[in-house]
Structure formats: structure tokens, C-alpha cells
Symmetry: C2
């Protein structure tokens, strides 16, 4: 008899951006990072169902939509993310990024939650992936963190490095001096001591943990500028044509990690060194495999992580916000 | 200045099933049918962007999810539909069908509306497509309508025939006598005089407008049972292996219409006569083309329409409910 009442109890919970942010603010950084790490391990172990990304494009005004979806095989939920970029939105006072995440019951198909996150959770899960990469690949005692870019992703990446590295000394570089100044003064980053770099070269020379977050279409960090003991995480290149790192750098790297080998080789930073035969795809280790096989960074070497974003991150973060907002 | 205020005005409207039903109840049948007809015309004219359907499947309990999405090129919205079938749901007192439709602003990507329709709008738009087919293909004076199947689709199909044919005399056939009786007494169908058929053969012999709505995997309506002046609309076959009509019937048809030729040939009723070489795909006319070219039914002949369901129907009905619920 109870079973027949079930339909009255399942309600679709609509979670607004402000409520999502409140859940994240009262969360432990470590728990959020672990959530994404666990997701990568499940993904690389082949325990995640992730079909090809759905795609729509628009001519006027120009825009595109990506639909990412999937589930962990022994889990209770499936998740769909709709994320769009409309690059003329700022003219209207709107974010370029828009979208939502949807959480469904994997045993009945009932919609559990609509997260009207406006792209925030995508930014967050990308930054958390950067923290996972740094946790496993950064040198033991980072002396200076280098951040390339000054946007929201550049800020969130540094924000979530706080609990994985002890270093608080930061150099930031961006094309606009004004935006570098703004970055240095960001309240979210007040635990760090941040100085603007005089050039991208200075980042390469001074820093031993570098995060690149730009939409650049040409190499910014040159091989000749990079010291011999450094970890670099590149998160900017997520589409064909984008590139932040000199492909010669990859020839010198002791370890090359990808969030998803197939994606990174197809349209990430790794597209370039593979195409130019600087490395072979056999040299790439997937982040989840690196973690589950308990691999270690080789001391005094260059390591590189390429993050393009995988649906498992969306699945993990959407589920988390839904479950936490029930409490 | 006004432009910069825009972000404060766009709110995502969550529309529950009860509100969706209220919008449909106060709508004119004719307007709803025309909406779907217009969609088919746009689709067959190549004015609709409809990427391949996204798909997820689940093993335990068994279920699947289809993600259908797209937009009309010169329109203001894009639409995503998530529809799932979990066939053990009725044991829990839940509908097998679950899902939602999402309406987005095509110029900014902002989510305009979340329609928590629980599969209702899919049922409705399928029935409205049946009415469009009947409007253009039924004999001039239908004498007896035949309905094969007794479920929700069998009911909605008849419900929306009301405004496209004058006939009120109906024979229904289903495997369960009890369900046939329930069908005959359905309040939604009280404008019709409905009798249970003694056999599926009786439907074939007596009826000149037949709608088949079952998940059958073998032919129900045999070629030898069908009279020479009849229109048949088959809506049941929407996946490989399903079949309601004897494939010999197609050899006798003067006109064969498909909502989407590619879909119907791939996994609709038309898969079988094509595979068995009873007809060639060149004989198939798309419903939207049949309408826009102002084609007519050949008198005293057999015509057949195969409806598998196209994203343009979802786009049209979701937009409509969203816009009407704003009023």
C-alpha cells in the first residue's frame, strides 16, 4: 500500500543559483575536491556511462549549446547538463554562459531536481578538477603559483588550490593591466599574496605550479621560459584551434595527464603535440587512472595536465548540490 | 540603459503538469492541431534544426531516456525534451513515462521555462499529429472510425479526431474485454458512440478511418481484412521490431505518408514493407510535404500514415504551453 503512495512524495525540487551558491559556501573544500576526484576514478575505471555530447549551434546572434549527460553504473541518479555560450550576451548585461543541470532518479526516470545554475556549477567543477590535478601532480613544496588569465576560472582555480598546496605566493598574468589589478584585489582570494607579472615570461621563470585559463588560439607559455621543476595545468583549450602551451614543452614532460584522453587528443591542448608528433597518445595517462594506480610525480621534472571537462564532473556536482539542499 | 535591466526581467518559469493541462483545456482543438501541422510543414521544408536524438539506457530496473531537441531557424526559442520509459514503474504506482520539456531563449540561451509534464505533452502532440494526418488523408465522409488499442494514446487520438471528422460512430478493439469496456465509457470520449469490436477483423471490415496505437511486435491488421476505401494511421511502431500493419497492405496503398521518412524507414512501421521490398522509399511522401504541396487523397483508395514522433512536435507544443501560460 505504501508503494502506491510513492508518487505523492517525489517532488521535483527547483534549486536557484543563490541556493546552489549557499550549499557550496557551507561545504568543505576538501569534500568538493574529493567528489570530483572520485568521479575521475570512476570514469577512468569504465564505470561511467557517458554518451556523445549533444550539440546545437546558432548563427544570429552566434551561440552554441552543449548537452552532456550520463550516470555512474551503480548509482541512484542520472544527470543531464545543458550549457550554452552566447558571446554577445554581455552587450545585454547577461552572462555568456547560461544553462542548467537536471538530476533524475535512475530507477524510475522521475525528475528529482532542476538546478538553475546559470553556468556556475560548470565553472566550479572545472576549478575543482584543477585542484585534483594539483593535489596529485604539483611539486612537494610549491614556491610560487602562476595564474595565466584573470577571469572567473582564473579566480576559482586559485581559490580551490588553497586546500591542496601550502604556497600562498602568486603571480598572475593577463593582457589587461586593469584586470590584473582587479584580480589581485579579489576578496575571494584574500588568503593569497598576489602580484601582477610583468610578462608571461615571468610566470614561466618564477612559478613551479602554473594554471592556464585563457581562450588563447596560440601558445602563451613557451618551452624556453619554463623551469625544469614545474607542474602545469591547462584548462583553456576546450575546442579545436585553442592552444595555451608551446607543444615543445610536452617533449620535456615526465608525465602527461588528461581528464579524458579521447577528448584532449580530439580538441584539447593535447591535440597540438600529438599532431606535431612531439608525443604519442600512449604517453598520456588519464587523471582517474593516475589516481587509482597511485602513480606519483617524478621529482624535479615537468608534468602537464590537460583538462577539457567531462560529464562525470557535472554528474558529481549536480548530485551533490541536490542531495545537500535536501538536508 | 533599459538593455542592462534585461537580466532582471527574465525568470525561468516552472510549469507543473496541472498548469499545463489547464492551458490545454482552455485551448481550441483546432489551434492545437494547426500548431502541429505548421511544425510538420516547417520540418519537411528543411527549416528546422533537429540533431540526432540523445539516448541513455539502464539495465536494472530496465529503462531508457530519449533527449530530443532543436529549433525552427527563424524562431525565438529552442526546445529540449527529456522523455524516459521505465517499464516497471507501474508496480510502484508511477507512470512508465516520465520527463520534462525545456524552453530556452534562442538569442541568449536563457532558460525560459521548465515544463514538468511527466510525458503528457508527448502523448498530446502524438495525438495531434494523428488529427493532422486524418484531416488531410481521411475519406470525405468517414462512416466508422476504428481504434486499435485502449490505452491513453488510443483515447487521445479519438478525442482529437472530433474536430477533423464528422463521424461519431466508433469501433474499438483491444486484447482485454474489460479495457475495451472502460474505453467505451471514458468521459473524455462522450461525444462518440463507441462499441467494442468482436475481433480485429471486424475493425478492418467495418471501418474506413483506422488508428492503431499498440506496442505490437507482429501485424494486427491483415491485408485481407481491409476494405478498399480506408485511411490508416499507425502510431504504435516507434522502435525496431514493432509492427501493427501487414506489410502487404502497403502494396495496395495509393499514398504512403511518414512524419519523418528517415525515422519511419529506420524504426517505424515502414521498416517492414521497405525491407520486404513491398514498396520503395521513393513512394513515401513526408506529411509536411503532402500538406505544403496541397496534395489530395485519391478517392476510393487505401492511404497509410506512419507516425514515429519528431522533435518539431515537441518544439511546437512546449513553446505553445510556455507562451500561453504567460498570458
Amino acid at each position: 500500500m505504501m508503494l502506491y503512495l510513492k508518487k505523492w512524495f517525489v517532488m521535483t525540487k527547483v534549486i536557484k543559483l543563490s541556493d546552489t551558491k549557499a550549499v557550496i559556501q557551507r561545504s568543505n573544500d576538501e569534500a568538493l575536491i574529493q567528489l570530483i576526484e572520485d568521479g575521475f576514478v570512476q570514469y577512468s575505471n569504465g564505470n561511467v556511462e557517458v554518451p556523445p555530447v549533444g550539440y546545437l549551434s546558432f548563427a544570429s546572434p552566434p551561440g552554441d549549446v552543449h548537452i552532456k549527460y550520463g550516470y555512474i553504473k551503480d548509482d541512484d541518479y542520472y544527470v543531464i547538463k545543458i550549457a550554452s555560450g552566447f558571446y554577445e550576451n554581455p552587450k545585454l548585461g547577461l552572462n555568456s554562459s547560461q544553462g542548467m543541470m537536471l538530476v533524475f532518479d535512475k530507477k524510475t526516470g522521475e525528475p528529482c531536481s532542476v538546478l538553475l545554475d546559470e553556468g556556475y556549477l560548470t565553472d566550479l567543477r572545472t576549478a575543482l578538477a584543477g585542484a585534483v590535478a594539483a593535489r596529485h601532480l604539483a611539486p612537494v613544496n610549491v614556491k610560487t603559483i602562476g595564474i595565466v588569465g584573470t577571469g572567473i576560472q582564473a579566480r576559482l582555480q586559485l581559490r580551490y588550490l588553497k586546500s591542496v598546496v601550502n604556497c600562498r605566493d602568486v603571480l598572475v598574468w593577463g593582457r589587461s593591466g586593469e584586470k590584473m589589478e582587479e584580480y589581485c584585489r579579489d576578496n575571494m582570494l584574500s588568503d593569497f599574496s598576489i602580484r601582477p607579472a610583468s610578462s608571461i615570461k615571468e610566470i614561466g621563470k618564477q612559478c613551479d605550479l602554473i594554471i592556464t585559463t585563457t581562450p588563447s588560439h596560440q601558445p602563451l607559455l613557451l618551452d624556453t621560459d619554463i623551469q625544469s621543476n614545474v607542474h602545469i595545468t591547462a584548462v583553456g583549450a576546450d575546442a579545436p584551434g585553442k592552444q595555451e602551451l608551446d607543444s615543445n614543452l610536452f617533449s620535456r614532460a615526465s608525465t602527461i595527464v588528461a581528464d579524458s584522453t579521447s577528448q584532449c587528443v580530439d580538441h584539447g591542448e593535447l591535440f597540438h603535440p600529438i599532431k606535431e608528433k612531439k608525443i604519442s597518445s600512449e604517453q598520456i595517462v588519464e587523471l582517474g587512472s593516475f589516481i587509482s594506480r597511485r602513480m606519483k610525480r617524478k621529482p624535479d621534472s615537468i608534468t602537464i595536465a590537460d583538462l577539457t571537462g567531462v560529464a562525470i564532473q557535472d554528474i558529481q556536482i549536480a548530485k551533490y548540490v541536490y542531495l545537500k539542499s535536501q538536508q
